[in-house]
Symmetry: C2
Subunit: 386 residues, 2 copies
């Protein structure tokens, strides 16, 4: 598969899908990494597949669904016999459909890169998307494979490790893990998904089967799923052990090896909101103007928007389609109509979750540029000045 070409690196990207979207900003061609413009992103509650961000660590696998299987193994649990599920077996489990926003841990990395140089693809605020996902629940598949309930002393505190098929730049294959309680808990809605927005998954998004872990950084929603392992410890993967962690502000490249083992692997997402319209430095007239954006912080929350740099705040109108609070994984779109804007207005937004957590006023630097959820601030230029 990988024909080494000196000029192009060790991997062959020539079989990657063709991706037609005028709203996608390509941050890197090989591996393919792209995010939509913010004004495209905020236009629809369900993000269309072509405009959904693509985050890759290698060439896109080109799998044959009729031959593909997913193995479930638990080498340290004698009661379990390894088994493989093919796609038609996975489709025989009850089909669960959920709406879930998936966000990359590196979303808004550009904001941290302004503080000091960060390592990673310099994403803006578009590496988030809100889709419907359908498939078997991880719970059903693990129970069918004989995995005990997560409360069973034999597996309490264990983890579920996922491995993808395909080549990967940083490790042997792409891998990640989540705690077993999360994988098995009925109200966490972890899926083995084969559909996105009502259609078969596209290659870019994990065809024929991927993990969806709602409420957790996108890195754990492993695409092109090959292997599930139930094990006492977290995944040994680069992406669990040595990446996707929040480094202290002073740590740089030469201290990574020392710090990585001391830090916890990221899972749950923090409170987040972003202004998508208007955009930074957009020229607008003095008003009226509608400010729009997205937020993720569960179903029950408040959205504050300021047009004076954070001195005063107004509550925005919210739009989401939450079925019930404990199963709310979708994002919320919000809007605030402002009658008048001052010259050089600084727009700021901050979301609050049900517990009263909110976004920090200013970003705190970390070298890998992850989990930036500082209040989103943009300046607009009144058109009279332009």
């Amino acid at each position: 598969m990988a024909t080494t070409d000196e000029k192009r690196g060790p991997f062959d990207y020539s079989n990657d899908p063709v991706r037609p979207s005028p709203h996608l900003l390509v941050r890197k061609d090989e591996p393919f990494n792209a995010e939509p413009t913010l004004s495209a992103l905020v236009r629809r509650y369900i993000t269309p597949v072509p405009e959904f961000f693509k985050r890759n660590h290698g060439p896109i696998p080109d799998l044959d669904a009729s031959k593909h299987t997913v193995s479930v193994e638990a080498p340290e649990l004698p009661s379990i016999t390894s088994r493989r599920f093919n796609m038609s077996e996975l489709r025989q489990f009850p089909k669960r459909e959920i709406i879930a926003a998936i966000q990359c841990a590196g979303n808004r990395r550009d904001g941290l890169n302004k503080l000091a140089k960060v390592k990673g693809v310099i994403w803006a605020a578009g590496t988030i998307g809100n889709a419907t996902w359908a498939g078997a629940t991880m719970r059903d598949v693990l129970l069918a494979a004989g995995v005990p309930e997560y409360d069973d002393p034999a597996v309490r505190g264990w983890h579920v490790s996922f491995e993808a098929i395909g080549e990967c730049e940083e490790d042997r294959v792409y891998g990640s893990s989540i705690p077993l309680w999360m994988a098995m808990s009925p109200n966490r809605d972890v899926l083995l998904a084969y559909e996105m927005n009502g259609a078969t998954l596209t290659r870019d998004h994990g065809y024929p089967i991927r993990v969806i872990v709602p409420g957790v950084i996108g890195a754990r929603s492993v695409k092109w799923l090959d292997r599930i392992t139930i094990q006492p410890a977290e995944s040994n993967s680069f992406f669990q052990q040595r990446d996707y962690k929040i480094l202290p502000p002073h740590v740089r490249e030469n201290e990574l090896a020392e710090w990585w083992p001391r830090l916890v692997a990221l899972q749950e997402l923090n409170v987040q909101s972003v202004i998508c319209e208007p955009t930074e430095d957009q020229s607008v007239n003095g008003g009226p103007l509608t400010i729009r954006g997205y937020a993720i912080s569960g179903a029950y929350w408040r959205m504050h928007v300021s047009v004076d740099g954070g001195r005063t705040w107004k509550m925005a109108e919210l739009y989401n389609t939450s079925p019930s609070p404990e199963r709310h994984w979708g994002w919320t779109l919000w809007a605030l109509r402002v009658p008048k804007l001052s010259i050089d207005a600084e727009l700021v937004c901050r979301a609050w979750d049900a517990a009263g957590n909110t976004q920090p006023e200013l970003p705190v630097y970390n070298y890998r540029g992850v989990m930036n959820n500082a209040q989103h601030r943009i300046r607009v230029l009144p058109s009279s000045k332009v």
Copy 2:
């Protein structure tokens, strides 16, 4: 029981327990509301019962455990027959012991009262305590009463309502509710507790039986438990419908009726940390000095302390006895040794949870003064200046 005495109000508090603790600051005598000093609080990982904050809304019930029962009812679920459990029946369920910090939603209300007048007992940062709690799991008791799994379509999205025995100033009785999924989820560890720190509950803390809801505002951990009702909606209690909600900053007394129905009832706690030693305006020498405090934000987190008003931060040493991350309900005590302090040093602390949420730099006002988790700031006076 309640002999009305014009001079003393409608309730009789003469049978309240005698409470000997030199470290308890009484905020209100009737009903009894008291919190420990911060330096007493930070001294031990497990808070002793006499120094554990007391939050009451009426006289303390004086119940006979040999006659006390707890009912489980579900009037809108035909499959369930109401039943009552007496204390020896409750003790026959497997005994679960957990360490959990319980925090009042009004903890640190004094910080919001500095911004504008708030309604409620003006608590400092001592309405939190960390104890071992033991009893039957709510899950076991509800299953024994015939309540279906929370994922069952018959009860999906339902709530579990708790009522206490005894008189209450704001309502007929004290009541609250939590979502059924939370009550039933094995990894939420909701208890019907009859022991605190290895001994029978004291009257002040709910003898003979109380609810413990880890990770949630103290208001839901109903004491002197009388009645459990499984129902489609939240509790109708004053404390669920019309209190313990975060009002927008502009709302005052005359707008409460309009705002309460529009706001969600508080449940989960936000990220919190407090400096307990030294205390505000304490005179200290120029150093070395050990700064100590508590934090709640799950097992995996970081604790930042600043001695220059938040310009620079150091990581504190942590102490907790977490058995496993998904079951961590205890607080963490932390300490930072500082070699030297400047004149008029401003000490600040901020905790981070595993998701990267942290405490806001400055408090945001709400009239009921709940959920204040702003970065805790104190000024110390170097003794050379005193």
